[in-house]
Chain length 129, copies 2
Amino acid sequence: MLNQSRHSRQREAILALLRSTKLHPTADWLFSELKKEFPNIGLATIYRNLKFFEEQGLVIKIDVGDGFDHYDADTSDHYHFFCDSCRKVIDLDMPPLQFGEVLPDGFSSEHHQLVFFGKCKNCKLELCS
Amino acid sequence: MLNQSRHSRQREAILALLRSTKLHPTADWLFSELKKEFPNIGLATIYRNLKFFEEQGLVIKIDVGDGFDHYDADTSDHYHFFCDSCRKVIDLDMPPLQFGEVLPDGFSSEHHQLVFFGKCKNCKLELCS
DNA sequence: ACATAAATGATAATGATTATCATTTATATC
DNA sequence: GATATAAATGATAATCATTATCATTTATGT
């Protein structure tokens, strides 16, 4: 049969790792972590699978403008805070906004991205790691 | 005197061009346009001045995740629509949102970026250029 | 077990942005 | 106006996250 995706231990591990963290990892972070379990894993495998997961709707890509693509296995509607100080991407616990009625005439959008910038809780208290 | 910025015709032209358009140009678009007036202008001059303007608060950088930095001389609070079809960045005429009361405890933000994704008016009508 | 094509790992290529550096130019001072 | 100084430029190389290529390995249906 054609056009079928196959199982691989690497693919499973990448998704499992993404699902286990709220750190919104970059490809490089995943690569470093997964080398512990798969010493021979290639960085291309990380990128390939991230693209695969995104196409499957299993993860979302978050762009906060720091030069890295961040990935999140939480695909529910939610917003992010990017700390200008420690450069972490942090989930915000706030209800998703409804923009249907407020968008100008002729525009409709299935998806929006809202990112807040500032100093996170910890950095304000000088507790940043 | 030290640490002084000087006038240059190129710098003036870049800012004037940014102020004359609502296209949210990329560095490369500005470069192409400005070569008409300055055939010898270098791409580095564009990037250098964009950074300069951003630091001076004269322009804002818009990141819509298309792989290019877009620039906007309209520094007032406003939101953007990114067309997945024609890949244009379009100003949205809608009032800025107030998030002070809705952000979770401990977070405060001076700045947020809200981008809507979808098909723009023209692309919905198959009028896209 | 075998055949087939998907997935991997290694590595090269891509491309937007940044850094470097010699030259040009703006501007303050004489 | 001439001059000194450092900012700005233009040309080009470097950077670096991401993507493409390709030979090899591996999953899975038969």
